[in-house]
Symmetry: C2
Subunit: 84 residues, 2 copies
């Protein structure tokens, strides 16, 4: 699943959660405290967003950071699994 | 809890998980595919690491990304909680 672009996955997840909570993109960007066009880029999967901004988004969604990544098991498995 | 530096929190968490799995910093950096000195900076909380590199670390730990952030509820609550 290495082809899976985590930026795209993250952006789709943020968009889903934002809409679920009824925020417009503009209102949500304001709430997060980031530029609207930047947030648009995040949702489109164009931004390799930083840890600090991920935390700002989680806070704006009133969710634990882990919640944003729930179900992201697909991106986690290593190719080089250690002997077990 | 805004004073809480998420970079420091993330770094401590990565160091804990790395040691728990018995990797040296050097071996782990190699496994992640990132420079050893960069990974040292991450563990010391000096790096505002990107989404893609967070995913590389999760993969190297053979953990879902969400697992790295388990218990990070402290950083999530917004100051500007909406009316509820």
């Amino acid at each position: 699943m290495d082809q899976l672009d985590v930026k795209v996955l993250f952006g789709a997840r943020v968009r889903h959660l934002r809409k679920e909570q009824g925020f417009s993109q503009e209102d949500f960007a304001h709430r997060v405290g980031l530029d609207r066009s930047y947030m648009g880029g995040v949702e489109r999967g164009e931004r390799n967003i930083s840890l600090e901004n991920i935390c700002l988004i989680a806070r704006a969604l009133n969710l634990p950071v882990s919640q944003i990544f729930i179900g992201w098991t697909d991106v986690a498995p290593p190719e080089n699994t250690p002997e077990e």
